[in-house]
Subunit: 416 residues, 2 copies
DNA sequence: ACAGTTTCCCGTAAATGC
DNA sequence: TGCATTTACGGGAAACTG
C-alpha cells in the first residue's frame, strides 16, 4: 500500500475553536490510472480525546480546476464539538492543560484497482483545540514552542516533556510575532529588555535556555500572569489600538523603568517616551522628564492606558491633547519631544485625528486626557546592556515518505 | 374529550431567538384517576412556518414538588432552529416582517383510562421568533401592540390587519416601558412631547388613534427610523448608561427644542437641561442658556452623547467635568443649575465617580469632555401643551374552556 | 472553595436572500 | 441594487466540573 510521494506545502500546527468553522484540503500526490474513479475521503478527529466533527465529513475527490489534474478535495464548514462522556472518563492527558494537548485530523480513502485494494491515510499536523478565544494566547504559545523546537511532523506527546529553547531562538520568534501582527519586529534593545525580564542577567548569554514553563506557564514573580500572557496582551493592544504609532516606530515599548530614567535624565525638559506596562496586562504609559529651576530632575509616568481607554481615544490624540492641570492655571501639555529629541507634532502629527465633527446645530465635544499633577520623588537611573544576534528560523520541511496524499491546506480563523 | 378547567397564570406573548435556550412549563389542571400514570407531553412548534425544536421535545409529567399534587412538566433548554426549504417555498406570510409573524408552541398528550382514549392539547400564546438581537425592538413592538389591543389568546393573524390604538392607551404602555426598564415612568409633559411627535397637534385629543404602521413601521418624516425604534434606542441607553441619573429624575429627556428654549430663556445663565436626541438613535444632549452683558440670550447644545462615549465616561462625570474652552483661557464649566434652579452638584453629586485611582507610581489621568465654543444664533421659543390622563392597563384573563392542561410558565431571556 | 474550562449569548460585522 | 434577514464569531460573563 505504500505509494511514491511528493512534498507538500509547509504546514504549521493550527488552533481550532469548538463550534467555529474551519476548512481543510487534501490532495492526492500521484495520478490514478482511472481518472473518473469516485475516491471518497473521510475526515476524522483523533480518537484519543473528546472531540468529534459536527458536520459532514465525507466527500469525493475531484480534479482541481486550475491544476495539473491532481485529485483533491476541500472540506469546508467543518466544526468540532466536544463529546460528553456520561461516565466521566475523559482521556488520559490529565496533567496537561487544554492548550498543551495536541490533536490531529485523519483523512482516509480506500479504493480497488485491478483487484488490488489500496488504503490511503494521512493526518494533519498537530492541532490545539480551544473552546473560547480567551484560550487563544495559550494556544499560540504551544504552536510557537512546537514549531521552534521540533521537526517531527506529528509528535502529539510533545508537551509531555517539552524541550527548552535557547534565548537566541526564542527572541527571534518573539520578534516575528510583532512583525506579523504589526509590521515591525523588535530591535536589540527591546529584545534585551525581554531577555532580562525572562532570565535576569543571564540573557546576555544568547544560548541560555528558557523552559516551557517559564515561558508560558509560571507566573512572573510577583505578578498574576506568565511572561507570554503579558507579551501577548501587548501584541493584542498593538494590533487593535496602536498599529499606526507602532509602525512609525514611536513606541520604544520594552524598556525597564531604570533604563527609561537613564535615557531621559540628561534630556531636555518635556522629553518623553512610551513604554508598555509591566504591572498590568495590555497597558501603555508615557514618562516625561522635568527639570525645575534648581536643575533637579523629576520623572512623571501617566497611569497606563488600556484597551477600554484607547477605544475611547486613540493614542495619537492622547499624545496631542494630554494636559496637566494645577488649580486655576491654564492646562498645559508636558510632552514636548519624543525621545531623543523629536518634536511631538512631528512624531505624531500625521496620526492625529481631525477633531471637528459636522454635527451643526450642536457644539462638538471631545475627550481630553487630564492629570492633576502633584509632587513626586526622583528615581535613580540604572545601566542597561544590549542583546544578542538573531538566528535563522527553522521551517517545516514536510516530505511524507509513506503516504500518497497529504493535506494541502487547512485554515481556521485562528491561524494566519 | 373536553375536560373541566382552571384558570392559568396570566400569560404574555414572548420573543424567542433561534439558537437561544428557552423554557416552558405545562400543568394538568385536573387530577387524573391514576396518579402514577406516565403521561408523556410532546412540544411542537407550529407547522405554518420554518422553525423546529432542536432539542428533546418529549417528557413525562410529574407531580409538582411543592404543590397541590398537580401533574406538570417543565421543558428546559428548548431551542428553535430554522428549517431550510430546498425548493424555496417558505410559508405564506410574505407580506409581514419577521417580527409581525406570530407563532405558537403546541403541547400534546394522549392517554387511555377505563377504555377511553383522551387527547389533551393546548398551545402557547403567540410567539415572535427572531434570529438576531437587532430584531428585539421590533419584536417588543409586536408584543406591546398585541397585548394592548386584543384579548384573544391565540390570534396568530393579528398583524394581518392590526387595529389602531388610542393615544391614551398607547401612552400608558410607553410609560410602563420606562417604569419596567428604569424604575421611573413618563410624566405628562414627557408623554405630551411624544404624542406631538407621533401625531402632531392631535395628541391633545386623547382618543386620537395611532396606526401600527405609524408606531413602528413607517419612518418618522425626515428620519431613517420609526417612532418606536427611536424610543427603544432611548430605553436601551437609559438601561445601560443612564439608570442612576434617570432614577433621580434629572433627565427631562422628552422636550422639544422649542419647549426647551421656552423653559430656559428666562432662567439664570448656566441653567441647563438634559434632552434625548431626536435626530440620532440613542443619544442624549444638554442645552444651557447664557446671557451676555447686553442681556441677550444664547442657547448651546452639546453634540449628543451615545453609548460609545458614555461607556468611556458616565453621564454624571460628564456633567461634573464638562468644560468650555476659549483659546488661552482657563476652561470653565458652563453648567451651573439643572432646570429649574438646582445647583449642579446637588443634582448629580451623589452619582459622581470618585476620581483618584490608586495606581501609585503613576499619575492618575481622567478624560474630560471639552468643547471649543464659538458664537451661535439665538433661537425663538414656542409654546407647548400638556397631555391626557392615563387609563388602566388591560390584562389577560385566560380561562381555557376546552383544555385540561395549559402552559403555566414559559421563559426566554428576551421576555421579562 | 476554586481554578481551569466550557457554555451562554449579546452585539457587531459579514453573508445571504429576496 | 438595496433592504431584510440570517449567520458568524469575538468577547465578557456565568455556569460547570472535577
Amino acid at each position: 500500500e505504500k505509494q511514491p510521494c511528493m512534498a507538500t506545502h509547509p504546514q504549521k500546527p493550527l488552533i481550532i475553536k469548538t463550534g467555529v468553522q474551519f476548512t481543510t484540503k487534501v490532495r492526492l500526490l500521484v495520478k490514478l490510472p482511472e481518472v473518473d474513479y469516485q475516491l471518497k475521503v473521510k475526515t476524522t478527529f483523533d480518537k484519543s480525546r473528546q472531540f468529534f466533527i459536527l458536520t459532514n465529513n465525507t466527500k469525493a475527490m475531484d480534479i482541481e480546476d486550475y491544476s495539473n489534474g491532481c485529485l483533491s478535495v476541500e472540506f469546508r464548514h467543518l466544526q468540532l464539538k466536544e463529546k460528553k462522556y456520561i461516565n466521566g472518563t475523559k482521556g488520559s492527558e490529565g496533567l496537561l492543560s487544554v492548550t498543551e494537548e495536541l490533536h490531529s485530523l485523519s483523512f482516509e480513502a480506500c479504493f480497488t484497482v485491478q483487484g488490488l485494494t489500496i488504503d490511503l491515510e494521512t493526518s494533519s499536523l498537530p492541532l490545539v483545540v480551544i473552546s473560547n478565544v480567551s484560550q487563544l494566547p495559550g494556544g499560540w504559545a504551544s504552536v510557537m514552542w512546537y514549531n521552534l523546537l521540533t521537526d517531527e511532523p506529528r509528535n502529539l506527546a510533545f508537551f509531555g516533556n517539552p524541550p527548552r529553547a535557547t534565548w537566541s531562538q526564542l527572541s527571534e520568534v518573539l520578534s516575528w510575532q510583532f512583525s506579523t501582527v504589526a509590521d515591525r519586529g523588535l530591535n536589540k534593545a527591546q529584545l534585551n529588555m525581554l531577555g532580562e525580564k525572562l532570565l535576569g542577567q543571564h540573557a546576555s548569554c544568547s544560548d541560555f535556555q528558557v523552559s516551557w514553563s517559564k515561558f508560558s506557564k509560571e507566573n512572573i514573580p510577583g505578578k498574576s500572569f506568565s511572561f507570554w500572557m503579558w507579551l501577548d496582551s501587548i501584541l493584542e493592544l498593538i494590533k487593535k489600538h496602536l498599529l499606526p504609532v507602532w509602525k512609525e516606530d514611536s513606541i520604544m515599548g520594552f524598556v525597564s523603568k531604570e533604563m527609561e530614567r537613564a535615557l531621559l535624565k540628561d534630556r531636555e525638559s518635556g522629553t518623553f517616551l512610551l513604554r508598555f506596562s509591566e504591572s498590568h496586562l495590555g497597558g501603555i504609559t508615557f514618562t516625561w522628564v522635568e527639570r525645575d529651576h534648581n536643575g533637579d530632575v523629576k520623572f512623571n509616568s501617566v497611569e497606563p492606558y488600556t484597551k477600554s481607554r484607547l477605544s475611547a481615544l486613540p493614542l495619537a490624540d492622547i499624545m496631542r491633547d494630554y494636559k496637566v492641570i494645577s488649580d486655576g492655571v491654564v492646562p498645559e501639555s508636558p510632552l514636548k519631544f519624543l525621545y531623543p529629541d523629536i518634536p511631538k507634532d512631528e512624531a505624531f502629527g500625521l496620526l492625529y485625528n481631525s477633531l471637528p465633527s459636522k454635527a451643526y446645530p450642536y457644539i462638538p465635544s471631545t475627550l481630553i486626557p487630564i492629570s492633576q499633577l502633584r509632587s513626586r520623588p526622583i528615581a535613580t537611573p540604572i545601566s542597561c546592556q544590549s542583546p544578542e544576534p538573531p538566528m535563522t528560523p527553522r521551517e517545516f520541511d514536510m516530505l511524507s515518505e509513506q503516504l500518497c496524499f497529504d493535506i494541502e491546506t487547512m485554515s481556521s480563523p485562528y491561524s494566519d
